[in-house]
Every structure is written in structure tokens, then in C-alpha cells.
């Protein structure tokens, strides 16, 4: 510490000129990321799950639609799936839709937290007891899309998965 202590008047925010440029550039860069993801999410439709209905995990499986989990055909190539997650399986375990279908997934849990990730798509949801997780996607390419539990749910968590099968030459 120098003996002649500088006074408050001489104190000032100090940064190297290059460092100042980096500060401005960093802010522009981060703003660009924020705009890009907002456009994809809110304008182009690459959306994350939002706030859906609440349910009671103790009784949700007792009444429709959850008492009969499975696929429902809404017509015009649109489908919805009501799915129950539990230690250590999904109901239903297998879903078949024709290529070109639009499928909305409603998933909830009757016990602990689970995850739902449909491989090769952007369907990726936490499944939390008491809440319904919902996302919709379109399936044009025929093939098998496994859906796997990607949130630790107990000792046999690794065995928990199911399959969406998109069939070629559907009726749509």
C-alpha cells in the first residue's frame, strides 16, 4: 500500500481499451443468443413444456382419461396419448401411428419423478407427480422411436422404456 493514499476523487473505474471492447462485444453476443432462442421457441414452434393441469397422483389412475392410458385418434392425422409413468414402466408400452401423424403426449406419474425422452425428436419432459407434462410433435419418418425414462426413479430405472412405432403407408 502506498503511503500517500489516493483520495476518493482520483478513484475511477479502470479497464484496458481492449477489455472495454470485449465487454461490449460480450453483451452483444449474449443478446444475440437470447434473441435466437426466443425466435426458435416463440415464433418457429420449438417450444418447451409449460404449465398444464394439476392432478392428484393418488387417484389420477382411477378416472378417465388416465384410467385407460393409450392412444386416441382425433381424426385428420391427429392423435393424443395419455400416458402413466410408474416404477418401472410406461403405460402404454407401445404406440403405433401412421407416418405423417401429429401426436400430443400427456404424461403424468403415479409414484415418483420420472423422465420422458422420445429419441431423435425434441420431446423431452420431466414427469412430476401432481402435474401433467404435455408436448406435441409431428412424425413423418417411419421407424421405431424409443421413449426412455431419463430421470432417476429407483433401482430398476434403466429398464424403463417404451416404443413409438411410426408405420409407413398409413391411412392419412
Amino acid at each position: 500500500m502506498s503511503t500517500d493514499t489516493p483520495t476518493e476523487e482520483t478513484a475511477s473505474f479502470h479497464a484496458d481499451p481492449y477489455e472495454r471492447k470485449w465487454i461490449m462485444f460480450s453483451l452483444v453476443l449474449l443478446a444475440a443468443f437470447a434473441v435466437t432462442v426466443a425466435v426458435a421457441g416463440f415464433a418457429l414452434g420449438f417450444q418447451v413444456p409449460g404449465d398444464e393441469t394439476r392432478v392428484d397422483p393418488r387417484t389420477v389412475a382411477d378416472a378417465p382419461p388416465w384410467s385407460q392410458p393409450g392412444l386416441r385418434d382425433l381424426g385428420n392425422g391427429e392423435y393424443e396419448v395419455y400416458m402413466l409413468a410408474q416404477q418401472y414402466l410406461f403405460q402404454p408400452r407401445e404406440i403405433r401411428v401412421p407416418a405423417g401423424s401429429t401426436v400430443t403426449f400427456y404424461v403424468t406419474s403415479v409414484d415418483v419423478q420420472h423422465g420422458f425422452k422420445l429419441q431423435d425428436t425434441n420431446i423431452n419432459m420431466q414427469i412430476v407427480p401432481g402435474h401433467v407434462s404435455k408436448l406435441t410433435a409431428e412424425f413423418d419418418t417411419p421407424g421405431e422411436y424409443p421413449y426412455i425414462c431419463h430421470e432417476y426413479c429407483g433401482v430398476a430405472h434403466a429398464a424403463m422404456f417404451g416404443s413409438l412405432i411410426v408405420e409407413a403407408g398409413g391411412d392419412s
Partner: protein, 53 residues
């Protein structure tokens, strides 16, 4: 013990107030380019996997 024993004194190579961090600028430019490229590659995976609403 090892290298730190021969710590540098302030007299070694005088670097004054005119020091310009050119190498640092080069590194942050490289970093930014890597950041944007890697980030974009994941962003393109998102786009390729189709919309979810």
C-alpha cells in the same frame, strides 16, 4: 524445492503501462469463434429434430 523457488523479482523484465494484451485478444476471438460454432451445431440439431409445441 522446485521452480517456484526462483521467483521473479520486479526487476526481471520491465513491462510498463504500455503493455497491450494482444495475445489475450487473440485468445478471446478464438474462444468466441469456437463458442459460436459449437453452439450453432447444437442449435442445428434442435432444428433438424423438428418442432415441438
Amino acid at each position: 524445492m522446485w521452480e517456484r523457488k526462483v521467483a521473479l523479482s520486479d526487476q526481471d523484465t520491465p513491462v510498463g503501462e504500455d503493455f497491450t494484451p494482444r495475445g489475450t485478444v487473440a485468445i478471446v476471438i478464438l474462444f468466441t469463434a469456437t463458442l459460436v460454432l459449437l453452439w450453432l451445431s447444437i442449435y442445428l440439431i434442435l432444428i433438424a429434430r423438428g418442432v415441438t409445441t
